[in-house]
Each structure stands twice: as C-alpha cells, then as structure tokens.
C-alpha cells in the first residue's frame, strides 16, 4: 500500500524533509508508519499524529491511500 507521510514545524526540520511517500505491505498502524520513516525508532510520546487530517493515536489503523502526519504539540498559549 501507499501512504503519504507529512511532517510539520520542528519535526519537519529534524527530518530534513516535508514528506515521504511510503510503499510497503507490512504497515497496519500509525505507529508502524513512524517506525518505517524513522528507521526503527519508537513513536515519541510528545509527538502528535493525524490520519487524513484528523487527530489519531499510535495504534490507529492506516490503509492504502491514507495521509499520515506527524507534528510537535501545537503552539497553544500561556494561560
């Protein structure tokens, strides 16, 4: 299956690229996608993820054609 993977903000800079196109068969979850694009790293706890532009969790499923995004916590604001 093919998954478009996008990165934002400081993560985009750390990755050194804005996106990847993943073609693989052994991917079932968001966590699997991260493992492939990060060459084996576990998904950092503070990183947020989205599938098709909706917030998602690490164990949420992905399917062919999905867009998966990883990004740091949103900016928020002082209380």
């Amino acid at each position: 299956m093919t998954i478009r993977v996008r990165y934002f903000a400081s993560l985009r800079e750390k990755m050194g690229r804005i996106e990847d196109t993943l073609v693989a068969e052994d991917i079932a979850t968001v966590s699997d996608v991260w493992r492939v694009v990060s060459t084996g790293q576990p998904l950092p706890e503070q990183l947020l993820c989205a599938v098709n532009m909706e917030y998602a969790k690490a164990m949420d499923p992905v399917k062919d054609g999905d867009e998966v995004a990883f990004f740091p916590p949103v900016t928020g604001g002082m209380e």
Partner: protein, 154 residues
C-alpha cells in the same frame, strides 16, 4: 459561520463591523450580544525580545479543525453566527493574530462560546510558532499547560 486564514495584516474591528453589516444584515434585531476576542502578538516572550514570528499550519487540517471547533460550540450554545480569522505566515509585533467573534441572543452564551472557541483553538488547532529573537530563531511549541490528548470533546 465563517472561518478563514489570512496571510496579511488585518483590522479585527473593521472585519467585525463589515461582517455584521453584510453577513448578519438579515438577522438584525435577532442578536443581542456580540463577544469578541482579539489576540495580538507581543514583542516579549520567555524574557526575550521578539522581532518577528512565523506561524506554520497544516493546510486542510487547520481549516477543518477550526470548523469542527465552531460546530462543537454551535452544538453547546445557541449561536446566531461565528466569525474566526487566524493569521498565518510572517507576523510582526502588534499585529492581530486571531479574531473570534460570536453573535447570540444573550450575553452568557456569547461569552461562554467565545471562550470555548479560543481555548480549543489554542490547544487543538495545528499552528506552530517560530520566533525570531536576537540570537536567531526558535520554535515555541511546548507551552500547553495540559498536554493535548486527541480525544475531542463534543
């Protein structure tokens, strides 16, 4: 209900005035309360002078999330209209970053809905700030007092 992202400076007061005159023209007489929040860029953050800020966003998801927040507010209060504008791109101190305007029949729901929308926006809408300071640039992305968990309250 209108949500828009804006790459250039805007006057929140002129926008609210124009919106009320145009979009709400046919509802004149129905609304008794308008609550407005305006967020403005400060020139000091974390003890450093900030000369510029760049707001990055996730085209598509950011607009979608803002629309969901307005829908969530609409489902909790009886809102006649909502108008949200958020800046993206390069921003200077004293520029307006965000406008939230809510029209209702009575003030309680206007205040409550306006507060809900700005808080949800701050904590769940995908925006990331990069500040320009004397020593260079830095991301500001860890100042949510409670780490957001992706369970959206509806």
């Amino acid at each position: 209900m209108t949500v828009k992202l804006c790459e250039t400076e805007f006057s929140p007061y002129a926008e609210v005035d124009a919106y009320q005159r145009q979009t709400l023209r046919e509802r004149a007489g129905e609304f008794g309360a308008t609550s407005i929040f305006v967020g403005t860029m400060r020139d000091l953050n974390l003890g450093d002078k900030v000369t510029q800020m760049t707001l990055e966003y996730y085209p598509g998801m950011t607009e979608r999330r803002l629309g969901q927040i307005v829908d969530e507010a609409q489902s909790q209060w009886n809102l006649l209209d909502v108008f949200v504008i958020h800046r993206v791109g390069a921003i200077k101190p004293n520029d307006t970053i965000v406008l939230v305007a809510v029209w209702t029949r009575h003030r309680d729901e206007a205040f409550a809905a306006c507060r809900y929308i700005i808080e949800q926006l701050k904590h769940t809408a995908p925006f990331w700030k990069k500040e320009t300071i004397k020593d260079g640039e830095r991301w500001v992305e860890d100042n949510n007092s409670q780490r957001f968990q992706p369970q959206i309250v509806t």
